[in-house]
Assembly symmetry: C2
Homo-oligomer: 506 residues x 2
């Protein structure tokens, strides 16, 4: 699912605000989220002239937006699915300003919607009603980079790609990479526990984040900025702010561990006879390639053939029931190519790989990645596409696809699955001639129930946001949900931080 | 500090309880912690006959220990520094039993001290007064291992080494390794966020733990057992239980991601002219060895020369101001040896390495590791040793050693530093002819103040436990400490879980 967006964002990158406004003005605006999803406003205060004056006393004039046309882009998510009704956007330049704003809003019971790069997919970054938008975009300073340990400290509003380019000068890379990297903020990445393309290799943000500074709803600053790999002095508080989507506090600074930039990248693309062979191949790749394995992706035949047909893209190998893409990141090109070739030879003799190609040429690698990344968008040409982004334990990874094919027989044009085998994250697409309530009801909540039975996750990387709180019980039990509510109550007793998001209504 | 213990535990491993009892009986018992550290008992209930009867109704007879000789080993930490006064040890066999015990204790306000392998170094795993010891030792079942994804699910009382041996059969390793692995429990590792010898390579437990099941003070079970690498459905609750040392809940099950077992291990031991060269060499090793670098350790001349002299150990290379130990874990012996040799050649020409040796022979590797691991114990032969286990950002890693040498001139026999450069974790030893209050007062809190100024951690991996709550403010600011208190109040309002530990007195 994220891949199609990936391509879009990769083209657009850091959109020019004026351009966005023009584009928005020239288009039909999305329906208001409140109407579309039938949500009732909670009992927060409303922003008055006095409040705006207060904000202007804390911030400078240009950091407070109240003109409708200025505020509009901040009200709409980039996939144009959600639209809020905020009247004020605040753009603090320091943690102190964030703290003063929140302390004030908390007293006045004014709701606040924190916003990073606004590249989310579940409506988490735009207001639902008239929440004040708190944009972190002006907090974009890089504070320090320890080139020896790889510890980068920066403000939350830094754009991921800017950081990646910055650390590259010291032969380092950011431990995460997303399609949206040209627009997304590191603070948003942390707040949503963004996964992305490097997770198999460099792990998740809970592992690579060294420190966080965050501001609680009452304005208290929690300073957990440290650049240490080992620190066992008390509770590990930073994790409260990773992935809680701005509902427990607003992330203002982060310290990230940056791994060494790989010197060599090699790609293999293989044809495989069944899903069982995909799994066996994954196990073999882990053993043979071990430390250089950076991606292990799969796609079934329908995924690739639809993409090849619909988008007229070349497939570098013949037609196979399943395809596997293996990427390595290493420090020695000769060694890496040797490992990958040896793996290919062995598994071709074993019969796990029927055919395949291995390349280190950038253009050829791009062709293969392009085919893989285009799958998500290609289905749109067949009609309407239902897209699910779920995690399922490895052994059952592909189980849902045949189940859904049977269930949707005669209703769906195609049901196909592809994704990050290495992360247990499968994208399931169901294409139908056109959207219908009947098809929706056959799919939902059925698919979430099935994922739940498999002890999977109904949102692998996209988060909960505004769109999924009512599905959260499929992935969290009552004990966990009630602990979430208690934490929310503790950290934000007035519920002013990103309301209508993450937590289901009681 | 942990290294000397390492050697001891490696000899002792899973100690026979009868043996321990005999040993304890034949020795002078350590002073009671309450007396030694002048602690006042908090207002908890006391265990009565009725309570014991209740425990016997939930557990079987042999799961409830009340005989003084049976209870004694659970009252004393293994470095014999702390001694509690518990009268009852409970050994539940299931989460349900843990839950019933805690629900009861919470109602009766009976304090509970959870205990894993009791291998901690800060008195966190033994009672201070008459807290009920809740030993997880009978919850030692391995539940499942997904050989494809590497997800291991097991009960909290499993011994780390048992798990490591178990997963090795599937060509996997546990992501952590400690000297105490023959005795320590995985539940204890999680509760203390154990670091250990593989952290540089495989990251910390916040990254490699996939799921946790824990029981809150009121008996509520929080089931966050998942075997998924990606799951963004709501708050990431498991992190509350990682490293909170049993004060927020008792870990009963864990799901751990096990990486692939490396096929090749190579070791290099190098002489270096100054600490600046150590840092430059670390940066170069990260770049050249990248993905196969699994350890980068340093020791200054005093560390090695004391060890060589005091313990009559061989030093495989000549006398140098600083020593560096580099270990690689990889999937191809030839490639790894090539990388390491090339690194050695390059840095010998550059002058960073003055002399060195590279080996893959197990016996030779053992000799080098043995020298490195013996440093901690060797100093004891010079008199009394003050030992500090701190993290400091890379660039300032060694700063404290010369500062302390100057400060302790004429007082100390030696001041030396060694440790895990790759993790920013330095062990500083100060040897004096004998313990004195004067020397202590010159060192403490001076050293903690200095660490605090450097934004370091006063406890890199050992935790806070019973011994360090009053130093915690050197590593956590007021905002963080007050959030810790709020979390404690939320999760355990009666304060029954591991009292007198982690949190400083208000």
């Amino acid at each position: 699912m994220i891949k199609s967006l990936t391509l879009f964002v990769r083209t657009v990158r850091t959109p020019n605000v004026a351009l966005v406004q023009t584009r928005l003005a020239s288009q039909v605006l999305p329906q208001l989220s409140a109407t579309k999803y039938n949500v009732k406003r909670k009992e927060f205060g409303s922003v008055q002239a006095d409040d705006v004056n207060f904000f202007k006393s804390v911030l400078s004039e240009e950091q407070v937006l109240t003109e409708e046309s200025d505020v509009l882009p901040f009200n709409i998510d980039w996939i144009k699915n959600c639209r809020g009704q905020s009247k004020v956007v605040l753009k603090p330049k320091s943690t102190k300003q964030v703290s003063e704003i929140l302390a004030y809003c908390n007293k006045r019971q004014l709701a606040v919607c924190p916003q990073g790069g606004n590249t989310g997919l579940v409506g988490g970054s735009v207001p639902v009603f008239d929440e004040i938008v708190l944009s972190l975009s002006l907090m974009n300073k890089i504070i320090s980079l320890d080139e020896i340990s790889g510890a980068l400290v920066c403000e939350a509003g830094c754009i991921l790609e800017t950081l990646d380019n910055y650390v590259k000068e010291q032969n380092l890379i950011m431990p995460l990479d997303l399609g949206a990297k040209g627009s997304c903020h590191i603070g948003g990445n942390v707040s949503t526990n963004a996964g992305g393309l490097r997770l198999l290799r460099y792990g998740n943000l809970h592992g690579s984040l060294m420190g966080v500074e965050a501001v609680k709803a009452d304005g208290t600053v929690v300073d957990c900025i440290r650049t240490l790999k080992k620190d066992n002095t008390g509770y590990h508080l930073k994790h409260l702010f990773i992935g809680s989507e701005g509902t427990l506090g607003i992330v203002t600074k982060v310290a990230v561990h940056c791994p060494v930039l790989p010197k060599a990248v090699t790609l293999g693309f293989f044809g495989v006879k069944d899903f069982d062979s995909v799994l066996k191949l994954y196990k073999s790749a882990k053993a043979s390639l071990g430390e250089i394995l950076s991606a292990f992706e799969m796609a079934d035949n329908d995924s690739i053939s639809s993409t090849v047909q619909n988008l007229k893209l070349p497939n570098p190998i013949a037609d196979f029931p399943f395809y596997v893409l293996v990427e390595t990141h290493g420090s020695d090109e000769t060694h890496d190519a040797e490992k990958l070739s040896r793996f290919l030879e062995r598994e071709m003799s074993s019969g796990l790989i029927i055919d395949g190609t291995v390349t280190s040429e950038p253009a050829k690698m791009q062709t293969i990645w392009n085919l893989r990344e285009s799958i998500a968008g290609a289905g749109l040409l067949d009609g309407y596409v239902y897209k699910y982004d779920v995690s399922i334990p490895a052994a059952r990874y592909y189980d849902l696809v045949p189940v859904l094919r049977q269930r949707m027989a005669g209703k769906a044009v195609k049901v196909y699955g592809y994704g990050h085998v290495g992360d247990g994250n499968i994208h399931i697409n169901v294409t139908v001639p056109e959207y219908s309530k009947e098809a929706t009801d056959m799919l939902e909540p059925f698919i979430f129930e099935e994922v739940s039975k498999l002890k999977g996750s109904i949102s692998a990387e996209h988060g909960v946001g505004f769109r999924k709180p009512h599905f959260i019980h499929y992935s969290k039990d009552e004990g966990a949900i009630s602990l979430m509510r208690e934490l929310k109550q503790l950290m934000d007793p007035n519920g002013i931080l990103n309301p209508y998001k993450v937590l289901p209504d009681p």
